[in-house]
Structures are given as C-alpha cells and as structure tokens.
C-alpha cells in the first residue's frame, strides 16, 4: 500500500500535537503550547520529505496483508509498534504509545477531501450529551441508565459526499375549491376543479450523503444538519487526535440518495405555492438537476456504543452542533405501569365528566 504516516510533533518539546477543538488550533498535551494549523501544516510538509522511512513500512505492510483482506499494517514512527487497521483508515492512534497518527496515503490524490468541518465539541461534551440523552425518559430501563457503560467514545471524521446542484422542476397538480349552501329542501356542495402548473428552479448546496459503508446511513442523517459555513479547506492537521476513514462508497453510489432528498425538497417547495385550495394532489412531477457538483468532505462525529441484554446500542453526536441521537430500549414494565396509571386516572375523570354532563 502506498501510504505514509503523518504525525505532528511539538516544535517546543517534541510531544505529539493534537487538534484543539476549543482554540481551533494545534496544541501540545505535554507542554500546553498552542500552534497555528497553517504552521503545523508547513512543518508536516517539511517532514513529509523524508521518503526513505516511509518506504520501509510500505514494504512491510505489503508482505503481511493483502488488499483483499481489507486490512493494513503500519509501523508507528514514535515507538516502532505495529499498527493494524482497516485499509480505509485515514487517522487513528497507536495502540502501544497512544500517539495520534494520520495515514496520508488515504488522504491524498483522489482520496484527498475537499473540505473538513473541524471538531468544535470535545469528548467531555459528547459524554455530557449522552447524559442529557438518557435523562427525562420515563420508559428507559433504570438499569440501562445506571449501569450504562460506554465501551468507547470515538471522535471520527466521517467521509461524506456533498452534492451541489440546481434543480429545475415542472409539476402539475389537480386542485379543488369547495363551496356549500342550502335551500329549504337541499344541501348543495359545489366543487371547482383546477389544473395548477408550476415551473421553476431551486438550488441546493452541500447535501450530505454518508460515504462510509460501516457507518449507518440513517444514524449519520439523524445528526444533520451541519453548518457548512464553518467548513474549511482540508488539512491533515485537523485529523490529529481523532479517527478518520476514507470513503468506501463512491459518489456515484451516493447519488440516488441525494437525488431522492433533493426531489422531495423541490416538490415541497413547489407545493407551498399552491395555496387557497381545499385539496391539492400532484399529478405529474418532473425534476431535473443541472450544474451538479460533488465534493468530498470529512465531517466530525462522536460515536459511542454500549451493549445491553445482548443488543448493541450506538449513539452519535454531531461534533459541530452537538445534536445527539441514538435509539434506546423500552422498559416494558414501566410501559404497562404508566399505561395503567393514565388509564385509571383518565377513565375516572371521564366517568365523572359524563356524570356531570348527565346532571346538566
């Protein structure tokens, strides 16, 4: 595999730099010195000239793991330990010394992302998000809440395809207006029928579609939206201290999902112009996208998993906005208990109300 490991060393003490979500810069966890991302990038470029060292681990990985295995082996440049990971991994940490490493080969050439939204929220924020997510839910088993042991909190830059496009649409609706009146003998209902024709266009920017096979598409959509005003040009330095994968679902495979969402949004926008009618039913909808542009981006996601009664529960938090999602189990006993309480109370109140109505 033609890949290289990129690490960011502190120019001050030689420690491994990590991306600082609060300051939006690089920070040394050992001497607390902070550096500008651009400066660290220049340093990284400088370090990347050391071709011979990189050549060594390439040969080693090719000997032990084939591409078909879907795995790759690298050697940590800090401690020499062997890093075994999936071949889509773009950033991880050394299992021996814990130093963050970035595999540049998975982030260069065609695999180089166009954009990245840096993490704004750290691991503690993710843990707090989980606490909030579990609170105030009366049907959540107490044991799950009390004994909840999160296996791991992973900050991951998830690969996404971003679709920009202009959507031209022509939609025809059948609409009706209704009027009622009566005379001494009959009730009348008059229905006026119309054909509504709407043509126009609508533009979309950065419609995201999950580009990772192993990340659940619905989970990734649940933590939307992202604010792409805060997206920046990709620099590997942002990945330091986080996990990252390269895409393994290409943009072509992702297009149908983007088309589906764009079409529905376009239809909704056009439907909003059909006011003043009793009923409006679409008869024919034609949506065509033009000037389509696809970009590759890495977006920040905090992932947490836990197991309960043999079932795996995955939680995700938007690393930019803090939106937290994750399905939770239901306490069946609590479900029936609350049902019985509400049922008894409401039935008694209804009985009393019926009696009062009878008295009146």
């Amino acid at each position: 595999m033609d890949n290289e490991i990129l690490e960011y060393k502190c120019p001050s003490c030689g420690g491994k730099l990590e991306f600082n979500t609060k300051g939006q810069n690089m920070k040394c966890p050992y001497c607390d010195t902070e550096f500008d991302v651009e400066s660290v990038k220049n340093l990284a470029e400088d370090r990347s000239n050391d071709k011979e060292d990189e050549f060594e681990w390439k040969r080693e990985s090719e000997n032990k793991w084939s591409e078909d295995d879907g795995m790759a082996v690298y050697s940590c440049k800090s401690c020499g330990g062997e890093i075994v990971c999936e071949d889509v991994t773009a950033a991880t940490s050394c299992p021996y010394c814990g130093n963050p490493v970035v595999f540049v080969g998975n982030l260069s050439g065609e695999l180089m992302p166009d954009l990245v939204i840096p993490f704004k929220l750290d691991k503690n924020a993710a843990k707090e998000g989980l606490k909030r997510h579990l609170s105030g839910k009366k049907l959540l088993p107490k044991v799950f809440k009390n004994e909840n042991r999160i296996n791991e909190v992973k900050g991951i830059y998830a690969p996404f395809w971003l679709f920009d496009t202009d959507a031209d649409a022509k939609i025809r609706y059948h609409a009706t207006r209704t009027r009622f009146w009566c005379d001494s003998n009959y009730n009348y209902t008059e229905t006026l029928h119309y054909a509504l024709i709407r043509e126009g266009n609508l533009a979309f920017d950065n419609v995201p579609v999950d580009g990772s096979e192993k990340l659940d598409d619905t989970l990734m959509e649940s933590i939307e939206p992202y604010n792409f005003d805060e997206a920046v040009d990709f620099k590997t330095a942002y990945l330091s201290g986080f996990l990252a994968d390269k895409y393994d679902v290409d943009s072509e495979q992702s297009q149908p999902r983007a088309n589906e969402r764009i079409k529905r949004s376009t239809e909704n926008a056009f439907m909003s112009t059909t006011v003043g009618y009793a009923t409006v039913v679409p008869e024919r909808s034609y949506v065509r996208t033009t000037s389509g542009r696809v970009r590759y981006a890495l977006l920040p996601v905090w992932l947490m998993t836990t197991e309960w009664k043999g079932k795996k529960y995955t939680f995700a938090m938007n690393g930019q906005t803090g939106k937290f999602v994750g399905d939770l189990p239901t306490d069946k006993k609590a479900f029936f208990k609350y049902f019985a309480l509400w049922f008894t109370g409401i039935s008694a109140a209804a009985m009393g109300l019926l009696y009062l109505l009878w008295l009146m």
Binding site: L139, N187, H193, E199, N268, F335, F339, A350
Partner: protein
C-alpha cells in the same frame, strides 16, 4: 407516585358515589293517574301511581298519565297542554313534568313534556318511550303498557352506569395509549432525513411559470333531513313540547 394513586382512587370513588347521593323528598304534585275511560282496575291504577310517584321522588319531575274517552274538538297536543296547566301539573319553579295522554275513542296517544322534562325527553328519548309502550297499547294491554312506559322513563332519566363506564374506559384506553406511545417515541431518535430542505440555497427558489387553470365544476345535491314536527306543539297557547300518534 403515591400522590397520583391517592388522587386517582379518590376520583374513582367520587365518580361512583355521585349517582347515589341522596336528596330530600320534594313536595308532592297532583296524583299522577287520571283514568276517566276506566281502562284500569283500582289495583292496577295504584300500582302505576306508586311507580310514577317513585319516579317523581327520584327524578324531581312530575310523571302523569291521563286516560280520557274523547278529545272533543281539541287536538291531542292542545288537550294535553291545557290539562297539564289547568290542573297544576308539574314540579318545581319550571313546572317540569311529562304527561302521557290516551284518548280511547280516537286511539290517540300523546306525550306532553314541559320545563326540564322537555329538555330531557328529546326525539330519541320519546322514541324510546313509544317503542316500549305502543306494542302493549295496540293489544289493549294498558296496564303493561303504562308500566313499560314508566320503566322506559326511568331508564331515560337514570344515569347509565354501564354505558358510561364503557365510554369512560374507551376514552381512558385511547388517551392513555396515545400518552404512553408518545413517551415511547422519545426513545427513538434515529430517523432518516426525508428532504434536503436544510441545504436549500437562500433565495434560490424562483417560479418561471405559475398558472392556475379552471377546468370544470361539479355540484352534488342532497335532500335535507326532515325537521321533526313533534318536538313542540303548534296549537294555540302552546307552551310545552312532545309528540304523539295513534295506537
């Protein structure tokens, strides 16, 4: 939790006790049975009167039965109306009561209602009374007919505990199911995005064609429901409600 249980239990007990809260025995209105046509034996008349008096005590309105031979020149409504008011029928400030008039020669049967009774005995209730008694009157079984009429009056005015309980249980089941399923839905937060509306470029929506074409119209005509003429009398001096027919 305990507080909720106590409040709930109190509400249940209160709602069940309300129908049997006692009330003071009211002053008696005129004797409830007038049998000028002599279709009832003395014993039957007493039995019916006792039943009607019991109804009066329970429901605080006057229940009367008047059986005459002939209406003369009057309509059943005007006869019943005059009889009711000229003989001091009714109970309470609004003179509430229900009078069943039978004219034997013309076989007219009229239920006259006044005051609170007029409101309590609407069309559906009057139908209930008619369905209970008219089959007996048709066979000249007047005692049974009057007893069935009294029973139907009691049924109409009594609080239908079983029926109400069924309705209350249904309401309770439906609302509580909505509540607990709404609580359950809070446990699910992983949902796909149906649209891309968050990513619409601001101000980009433009309509190049916006046409509303009128095509045609349809008119549906349905006959109006007949207004029931029996709910209120139409004779001179009309004051009460009711309706009647032949038996």
């Amino acid at each position: 939790m305990k507080k909720t249980i106590i409040i709930t239990a109190f509400a249940v007990i209160l709602s069940l006790l309300m129908p049997i809260i006692s009330f003071a025995s009211p002053d008696m209105p005129p004797y409830p049975v007038v049998d000028e046509a002599d279709v009832l034996s003395d014993y039957e008349e007493d039995q019916i009167a006792n039943k009607l008096i019991a109804l009066f005590k329970e429901h605080k309105m006057h229940f009367a039965i008047v059986i005459i031979n002939d209406l003369g020149a009057e309509t059943p409504y005007s006869y019943a109306d005059s009889y009711y008011h000229n003989n001091g029928f009714g109970y309470g400030k609004d003179k509430s009561g229900i009078l069943l008039l039978l004219a034997m020669s013309s076989r007219d049967c009229y239920i006259y209602t006044y005051g609170e009774a007029e409101r309590k005995f609407g069309n559906s209730e009057l139908t209930e009374l008619e369905e209970a008694m008219l089959p007996y009157f048709g066979e000249d079984e007047f005692y049974n007919g009057f007893m069935a009429y009294a029973g139907a009056c009691d049924s109409v005015l009594s609080f239908d505990i079983l029926g109400s309980l069924l309705i209350a249980v249904l309401i309770g089941a439906v609302i509580s199911l909505i509540i607990v399923f709404s609580m359950k839905s809070k446990l699910k937060s992983v949902r796909p995005q149906k649209t891309a509306s968050n990513y619409v470029r601001s101000g980009s929506f433009t309509l190049t064609k916006d046409l509303d074409l009128y095509l045609y119209r349809t008119i549906v005509r349905t006959r109006r429901a007949e207004t029931n003429s029996g709910s209120r009398g139409s004779g001179g001096g009309s004051r009460g409600g009711g309706r009647g027919g032949k038996f």
